[in-house]
Amino acid sequence: MKGAYELTVQNKRIHYQFTIKRNITVIRGDSATGKTTLLEMIETYSQNGISSGIDLKCTVPCIVLHGGDWKQRLSYTHNSIVFIDECNDFIRREEFASEVKRSDNYFVIVTRDDLPNLSYSVEEIYGIRMSKQYAGLKKTYNEFYQIYG
């Protein structure tokens, strides 16, 4: 995959909007900013589609990768954005890094760990924050911000 991909994920209460620009994006930051909630919404949508009540807009498929079968799932995932939540220890393995290097997917990895086996831009390390533009509305609007920008 090449280029940037805009994603919008929302339900009745929460709205996320952000752009993924490179093959590896890292999300980190304080606890309780909505990182895991974002991934849970993406996974629920990928399993249930519009029946989930979640609205996900992106021009490529989005999936959430976790657990012991990560390598098998990755082997049949192409031209997609692959999200991985924190505390999945496989992301630190060389085996994972080599799979990423030869993959045609983009990866969005939630982690505070250093990932010495993966090369990614410091500009692609983001946190999640509530958008000031929509502050005060009943629905919570979230956006990415560059941590080292």
């Binding site: 209460r13 929460i14 304080d30 309780a32 895991t36 505390c87 999945n88 505070r112 760990d113 250093d114």
Partner: protein
């Protein structure tokens, strides 16, 4: 005292939020100390052992608490002897880790350079046995290991 092992440790609970989902006890959630942590980190209010009111998510169960708060609750109440990965906690949890360690010997692992603030505090680096007391002493050692 807080004892920190920097890097991988054999037998550590690397994914505390999953451990929490399968091991938490109702009494932990309604304890005053846990209620304060949930209020501070998740901005949420404990209604009962099974219901927490979140301003963002509505009524949730303890399983929908943030990974950071789940890990803090384990550090405070779990008496299994397991060592939890504090990298599941954001920097906004650091002051609570120090508070928990005021009343018990707390051993955790860390895989990143958590910001504990300026200090003073006492953190034993288990890799070396050295005790650090402030931000500068912490920074002098932490990035040798993570």
């Amino acid at each position: 005292m807080l004892k920190v092992y920097l890097g991988d440790m054999e037998g550590e609970v690397y994914n505390p939020p999953v451990y929490f989902d399968n091991q938490y006890e109702d009494e932990w959630i309604t304890d005053e100390f846990a209620e304060k942590m949930i209020s501070d980190i998740d901005k949420s209010t404990v209604v009962s052992p099974h219901i927490i009111e979140s301003p963002f998510l509505g009524a949730i169960t303890p399983k929908e608490l943030s990974g950071g708060v789940k890990t803090l609750i384990l550090m405070k109440y779990d008496d299994s002897g397991n060592i939890f990965n504090a990298t599941a906690c954001g920097d906004n949890c650091a002051k609570w880790i120090l508070k928990i360690a005021e009343s018990k010997d707390l051993t955790v692992t860390l895989h990143h350079g958590m910001r504990f603030g300026e200090g003073p505090y006492e953190i034993m680096i288990m890799n070396t046995g050295k005790i650090v007391h402030n931000r500068q002493e912490w920074l002098d050692v932490v990035f040798d290991y993570v």
